[in-house]
């Protein structure tokens, strides 16, 4: 299957972006939502007209708990197995609930939930790397080396401990370079360290990870072999029941990151996936660059504050002043680059980033269980190097929705509002929209073009994608126009 289809002229055979049919399109009097998160998400859900928060959930075989306005987290493992009828229409759940309950939860057609069952194929570093490697090989077979090279946006990575020997081989081929060790499933920068000598990880092997390594080495190397169906729910469940094994990946550290003001930074970009088969993904125009508080230098490998740009880590750095926030809106970043390198270089960079989003999603397309109830808002972490090449660091299934400043609060509430607009529980959209608020439809079972009449920069008839990352986000105006025209369309047809 060649992925670069001949771009169809936009007005022919335009596919809608997948609207539910039939019973799901009924207008509901009210939409019952549930979530365990507070902060921005709760604010957005509570303020949405017609949405009601579900009171404390009824246990299958227990008395109804007195009405409380706050939904409480259910203690793990307390749910009885077996079918439990959900009394909500929309659940922004956390991944632990998903892991335990998704398989035994019945959901009506119209119900929506904020994660895909096996999202970890994309978001756990070791699985993602594996899926990408496999996808790349497939591309090389089908479309040649040039096409496959477009997947070279992740630094060389090896799963530990099973690929330890492969890693050592690569390590010896490139003496003196820096590597970074990251735990597979932790977040916020925990457990990460840099090293240059094998000795450093020998110590680490003997230390905390030592015991666990032997236990997993003794098992058949399940993860080394890639079953066609991918990693199903059961295998990860098994792992959970045993002593938790800390899996790590060793990745080549990018030693020449792009610096601004002498500081390293990474980009957080939001991608909303409505379905995997067919693949439908939206890209949000806003995002931000997260700066390290200290100046970048390779000589201080031990200083994790320098290298890790997560806000969580930066918050503990002695230099951190909360008022600063150390974030730039991505529009500011785009402008800065344009004034330094010119608009063409910036266009290239951003379209390279589009390439990352699409290819990474394509690589897990066949593996992720594309349940129509599911959608997911991913937080992509991208690092830019000095040659203006973007690298994919990781994909987050639960990007932080806590606001670190007023500006951050606005970004996240608008992001969530627009996510809910796209999910469209209110059944207002026609399915032909290419833009909803700050979201642009990036991929709809094929590339999506911008509106007609827009000139393309290369002038060679090449495709201009419908992405506007870092561009003006006049979402309020667009939403007003959108909903007004939808209303008048409805009136006309009724």
């Amino acid at each position: 299957m060649i992925l670069e289809k001949d771009p169809k002229p936009w007005n022919q055979n335009y596919k809608g972006h997948g609207l539910s049919k039939g019973k799901e399109r009924e207008q509901r009097a009210s939409i019952r939502f549930k979530t365990t998160l507070v902060n921005t998400l709760m604010d957005v859900l509570r303020h949405r007209p017609g949405w009601v928060e579900v009171k404390e959930c009824q246990e299958a075989s227990g008395p109804r708990v007195a009405d409380t306005p706050v939904v409480q987290r259910e203690p793990k493992g307390s749910r009885q197995p077996g079918f439990v009828e959900g009394d909500w229409d929309f659940y922004w759940c956390d991944v632990s609930w998903l892991r335990e309950n998704f398989d035994h939860t019945y959901m009506d057609e119209h119900v929506r939930i904020s994660h895909f069952r096996n999202h970890y194929e994309l978001t756990r570093k070791n699985y993602m790397v594996k899926n990408l490697k496999r996808f790349r090989k497939q591309l090389e077979r089908e479309a040649g080396k040039l096409e496959a090279a477009k997947c070279d946006f992740f630094p060389k990575t090896f799963e530990m401990p099973c690929e330890y020997h492969l890693f050592v081989e690569e390590f010896r081929k490139n003496p003196g370079i820096t590597w970074i060790m990251k735990p597979v499933a932790r977040s916020q920068g925990k457990g990460i360290f840099l090293f240059r000598r094998l000795k450093d990880i020998m110590d680490w092997r003997k230390g905390t990870a030592g015991k666990k390594l032997t236990s997993s080495e003794a098992q058949p190397a399940r993860s080394a072999v890639n079953p066609p169906g991918g990693h199903d729910a059961r295998s990860s469940e098994d792992q959970k029941d045993e002593i938790p094994v800390e899996n790590y990946v060793a990745q080549r550290y990018i030693e020449n990151p792009y610096l601004i003001g002498g500081r390293k930074f990474d980009l957080r970009v939001y991608v909303l996936v409505m379905s995997y088969i067919p693949l439908r993904a939206w890209l949000y125009r806003d995002g931000f660059a997260r700066f390290s508080n200290t100046r970048f230098t390779l000589s201080s490998i031990d200083d994790q504050y320098v290298h890790l740009t997560n806000v969580a880590v930066q918050k503990t750095s002695p230099d951190y002043h909360p008022k600063k926030g150390c974030k730039w809106m991505i529009q500011r970043f785009r402008q800065y680059l344009a004034s330094k390198h010119g608009p063409e270089a910036v266009e290239t960079l951003f379209s390279d980033m589009d390439n990352i989003f699409i290819r990474s999603l394509q690589s897990v397309q066949k593996v992720i269980i594309s349940d129509k109830h599911c959608f997911e808002l991913y937080g992509y972490d991208i690092l830019i190097d000095q040659d203006l090449k973007p690298w994919l660091l990781e994909v987050n299934a639960s990007p932080s929705l806590t606001a670190s400043s007023q500006e951050d609060y606005e970004l996240k509430t608008c992001l969530l509002e627009d996510t809910l607009h796209v999910v469209d529980m209110e059944a207002r959209l026609t399915g032909r929209e290419k833009r909803v608020g700050g979201f642009d439809l990036m991929w709809n079972d094929g590339p999506v073009s911008r509106e007609e009449g827009a000139p393309d920069l290369s002038g060679m008839g090449n495709f201009v994608t419908n992405t506007h990352l870092g561009c003006v986000n006049d979402r309020k105006k667009q939403l007003r126009q959108l909903f007004r025209s939808l209303q008048s369309q409805k009136k006309a047809s009724s």
Binding site: G261, K327, P343, V472
Partner: protein, 486 residues
């Protein structure tokens, strides 16, 4: 006619004198000598041939740019016999007010000095010098104890002085009339009204395309943006200062801005300039000034806390510390109503032979000073170039924002312009604000003193500063402040 001619020849003489001492003159001379080797230069028509050669090789353009630059910066002499104070500031009462304000600042600085028993300047011990040199690119990581330092003054202190400014020759009368000015500034300076502003800022009219407006997503780029960018590239290729200044009145495309500003300010990074900057850096390393702590404090208080400029903290130190050592800045006091403070070597108070200017550049930073540099970090990343641009911006424009003078671009005129516009065109708002005790100037003063740095998003700010360069005037700041209240 004769008067004009003699004025013109005076101007020419002054510019020639100024340029004779410049690097450009030496370069032109060298080029002229070298050109003698060329076959097309003939002895019979030596002068014309060399002129022709200069024209073709682009040196004439450079000379033109230099002359244009001088014309923009130096005020034209009003009368050949005018004393130098008149060049600084023609009105006596303004000069007096500036003098007493300076005395107050110095007193404040001296008392801080005595309180903390820190010398105004001291030589750094070798170990400290080495340490500073190592840390030069990351001075922001330093956390010196600055709690005892306080800014010498803040914009609001300066505003109080301006409010109390009075022309002793002018009798306002106590009775209210049409002519009564309701604002805080009570000096009779001439400011432009809206018809005059319209004429002055003719390129900002509704029918002329503007960047920042006519390049928004709704407007197709063929209409204005593409052509404008093309012209900008042409201007840069021609390296013509005057054309660039005219061009930038409609705003500068993001990618071209850094070069355009450098062209207008006539900054080209020559090896001598880089060397000069390095020399200043050495001065910083060798001597520690009290002013340095004030600079540190200011950066930490303002730019470091700004959502966008915190990234550039290190650059700010590198520029401002060197700036305070730069004695070439003293040149601008010839046309600045302010005068550089003098300090005396210990024990030799009052003896002129032992007087030095303090700080060496004569400029005492106030609260928010570092914000003049911060937006420039967006455009220039090489420290010596960033430094040159800032220095030029300061001696052309920014100094007027914190000295008392009657110049149309001086802060007093800007305040008066702002208040007059408001009173004339939004009288009800003005009156209402006055009634509730919120004089509008108290709100907008800090915007204007900082040239809106830190109060506008960077892209908006840079478009505003485009116009300052384009019109060689700060009046746009008053207009912008007025628009903010609309």
């Amino acid at each position: 006619m004769l008067q004009e001619e003699s004025d013109l020849s005076l101007v020419i003489a002054q510019i020639v004198q100024k340029l004779k001492g410049s690097n450009l003159y030496a370069q032109l001379e060298r080029q002229a000598w070298a050109s003698l080797q060329r076959p097309e230069i003939k002895l019979e028509s030596l002068k014309e041939d060399i002129k022709e050669f200069f024209k073709i090789s682009g040196w004439e353009k450079k000379l033109q740019n230099a002359v244009y630059s001088e014309l923009s910066v130096f005020p034209l002499p009003s009368h050949p016999a005018a004393p130098p104070e008149h060049l600084k500031e023609p009105l006596v009462y303004m000069r007096k007010a500036q003098g007493s304000w300076e005395k107050r600042i110095l007193k404040s600085l001296n008392s801080m000095c005595t309180e903390l028993s820190i010398p105004l300047a001291r030589k750094r011990p070798v170990g400290e010098q080495k340490e500073l040199l190592n840390k030069w690119n990351e001075m922001g990581t330093d956390e010196p104890d600055l709690s005892l330092f306080r800014p010498v003054y803040a914009p609001k202190d300066f505003l109080e002085v301006l409010i109390n400014l009075r022309n002793p020759n002018y009798e306002n009368g106590d009775s209210l009339s049409f002519r009564t000015h309701l604002g805080l500034i009570q000096v009779p300076l001439k400011v432009k009204d809206i018809p005059e502003l319209k004429e002055f800022f003719v390129e900002l009219g509704l029918t002329t395309g503007q960047l920042g407006i006519d390049d928004s997503t709704q407007v197709p780029p063929e209409l204005f943006e593409n052509e404008h960018v093309r012209i900008g590239q042409k201007v840069l290729a021609e390296q013509d200062s005057a054309a660039a200044q005219q061009y930038i009145r409609q705003g500068s495309p993001t990618a071209l801005r850094a070069e355009l500003w450098a062209l207008i300010l006539n900054i080209s990074s020559q090896p001598e300039d880089i060397l000069y900057y390095e020399q200043l850096k050495t001065n910083v390393i060798q001597h520690d000034l009290l002013v340095d702590s004030l600079i540190y404090k200011d950066v930490k208080l303002t730019a470091s806390n700004d959502d966008y400029y915190f990234v550039f903290e290190d650059y700010l130190y590198q520029v401002l510390l060197c700036f305070s050592r730069d004695t070439s800045v003293l040149g601008h006091f010839a046309y600045n109503s302010a005068s550089p403070p003098k300090s005396y070597i210990r024990g030799k108070l009052g003896l002129e032979e032992y007087a030095v200017f303090y700080p060496p550049n004569g400029v005492i930073p106030f609260h928010g000073f570092s914000m003049y540099v911060a937006p420039l970090c967006f455009l220039y990343h090489e420290p010596s170039k960033l430094y040159q641009i800032f220095r030029e911006m300061y001696v052309r424009f920014f100094f007027r924002l914190h000295s008392i003078s009657s110049h149309p671009s001086g802060i007093v005129s800007l305040c008066l312009l702002f208040e007059t516009l408001l009173q004339t065109y939004l009288p009800q708002l003005f009156y209402h604000l006055r009634e509730i005790g919120a004089q509008p100037l108290r709100i907008s003063f800090k915007w204007m003193v900082r040239a809106f740095s830190g109060y506008l998003a960077t892209d908006q700010l840079l478009l505003l500063w485009d116009r300052i360069l384009g019109y060689n005037s700060l009046e746009i700041l008053a207009a912008r402040a007025y628009c903010q209240l609309l």
